[in-house]
Point group: C2
Chain length 359, copies 2
DNA sequence: CTGAAAGCGCTAACAC
DNA sequence: GTGTTAGCGCTTTCAG
């Protein structure tokens, strides 16, 4: 039977049900139409499940069968071209895929985008301005619905010019420019929460080891600490605020100073610092949480959950930042009155804090 | 002058240089052509810098100016539609964006893809089979050049059926199916390297704390250990191989048993285990590296680099896996004779190993 | 209920 | 050197 009619130029009486070819030329709408003996319009209608057009069950079935038999897949490029808007959301990141936990921003953005029928197009710019411009250009050319511009740590940023050609939302960063939508973690609330964990367990003399390097986190986390103390009527004691480089070494190095403060609890700027402090405290034969209660910030899983004892801390809501970024872009979020939307930093209580034994 | 001729239906004498509209309808090739007073073909030619067609400098300039003035961006969807192949590479991951360091696979894939003019389309499936099918379908519809199918830890996997409709490469996982291209870390070489670090420093009695859970890593890392010992003429002593759950608690819990083995060095299945072991050893008043040399595996930055002392370990080459995956997909890599391509796991020496003092 | 036909923005022959 | 034209695969009036 099979005569050599596979000449694609002569769609003469080509209603021959071709077997699914192994990854050859993709099957097109037209081929489905021919196979089903209907017009392309009809196929389009059943593919898109348009309620408006009433297609007879008979026809619908024929089309469905043809689609299945041929293994048809719509060509999203063509759809986009005609509809004018793509189902892409771009995510440009300075180092998000690089840094351990901030990858959660991608994750949150991807989940949320997906939920609304969008796919995520990502670009890691490694902070390279030129790469960034190219990445944004690429996204613009693919007619993305909008762009999420994110940074791996919370900071102020300049808005690249090309970004303005699209709808965009800043994620984990912000600009002083009016009108620029942004979502950032609520550092102040986080600082308050961290301090409250300690307060709640009866601690009154609480030290705060802040970072030495300037950042919104530095200010916000300190503000939260003061607010929490204030709410409890505890006067702010400046001498209880130390500063160290925000990593393990910094925390370790701050041990001596901390010990001079005669406190029962300490809130560290981040988990890495807390990790270093654990070492320092241990070397002094001090036990956590009995001799010193410790809380961190960031909830860096690998560290916080597995220190001995597991560290109570406050989460940096990366996943939520990504998700909220997408919602904001899509106009699904309540527009902020002013300034960036602040995302809650939830408390994660583990075992590094215990009720203070009466002295 | 400006009469109300913005009627887009009548491109009559519409050579009026429109000012760049703020994110209105994107400017099209045709508009540029009209503005420059040339045909669309000409514009296309200069946009794509075709050397073949010789365009007069005069014309070229007029076109360039029009492009700049109008802020024209090519519509990649249209380009793709006509050319037939898109510049997308899909990356479907089971949990890559979720897990701390495996995000590097995304990073490596993105960098390499970008280098060859491709953009990365990602999808995190969270191991959900249905989501995975949808994600692959989406990628297929966007006519991706190919798909990278990756897992967050090295393991065997089934090839989803829809994946076969596209060109694909397995990343950090493999299938027994012939023909399926895959790139995985070279666990055996890694295990050998880890052991060699210890050997090189004079250690002869070296314990290996392997994982309890079955995995290619478990077998490979053990094989590497045996090979390294063998190469040094050290007989394999089964009693020196312990097993524990591969996390901090497991490492901590293995301390007692380890100490009974009377070894001078230990190679841990992973860094998290090593981290737990650090705690256990410390509680016994033992110092690293003097009383016990330790090497880990994975090079989980947050842990390994910041333990006290910093941990010598072997890197899981996630970035390279992503990059090699893309190269393989694009046919830029030497095809493997058989089985998955094995990516080297480089040694990272830090301070947890020191030359063994003569007893 | 279904088909014909116009185009989405762009590229690539092929004219002139 | 540059313009004309025919699609790429699809959606969407508008007829019938």
């Amino acid at each position: 039977m099979d005569s050599q009619e596979n000449n694609s130029d002569t769609p003469a009486d080509a209603a021959v049900p071709l077997r699914q070819t192994q990854r050859a030329q993709p099957v097109t709408l037209r081929q489905v139409a021919e196979a089903a003996g209907v017009s392309t319009a009809t196929v389009s209608l059943v593919v898109n499940k348009k309620k408006a057009a009433r297609i007879s069950d008979e026809t619908r079935k024929r089309v469905r069968d043809a689609i299945r038999d041929l293994g048809y897949r719509p060509n999203a490029m063509a759809q986009t071209l005609v509809s004018g808007s793509s189902r892409f959301i771009g995510l440009v990141a300075d180092a998000i895929a690089t840094t351990p936990f901030a990858g959660q921003i991608i994750h949150g953005a991807q989940d949320e985008a997906w939920k609304h029928g969008y796919a995520l197009l990502i670009a890691n710019t490694e902070g390279n301005r030129e790469l960034e411009t190219d990445a944004i250009a690429m996204m613009l050319e693919y007619k993305v619905r909008g762009i999420l511009y994110s940074t791996w740590f919370h900071r102020a940023t300049e808005i690249p010019n090309s970004l303005r050609e699209s709808d965009f939302v800043l994620v984990n960063c912000f600009s002083t420019e009016p009108g620029a939508r942004a979502v950032v973690p609520d550092e102040t609330q986080g600082g308050r929460s961290a301090t409250e964990v300690l307060l709640k367990h009866g601690h009154r003399r609480i030290a705060f080891i802040n970072a030495t390097i300037p950042a919104p986190a530095k200010d916000g986390r300190l503000r939260g600490y003061r607010e929490a103390l204030e709410a409890e009527g505890i006067p702010f004691d400046e001498s209880l605020v130390l500063e160290a480089y925000p990593d393990q070494e910094g925390g370790y190095g701050a041990t001596e100073e901390l010990l001079k403060r005669n406190v029962t609890a300490v809130y560290c700027y981040n988990d890495r610092m807390a990790m270093g402090l654990y070492d320092g405290l241990r070397e002094h034969g001090l036990s956590i949480p009995d001799d010193m209660a410790v809380v961190g910030f960031d909830n860096q899983e690998v560290i916080a959950a597995h220190l001995r004892p597991p560290l109570s801390t406050v989460s940096l809501p990366h996943y939520e930042l990504g998700a909220a970024g997408v919602r904001t872009l899509l106009g699904l979020e309540e527009p902020q009155a002013s300034g960036p939307a602040k995302i809650n930093c939830p408390t994660v209580e583990r075992d590094s804090v215990r009720v203070l034994a009466p002295a």
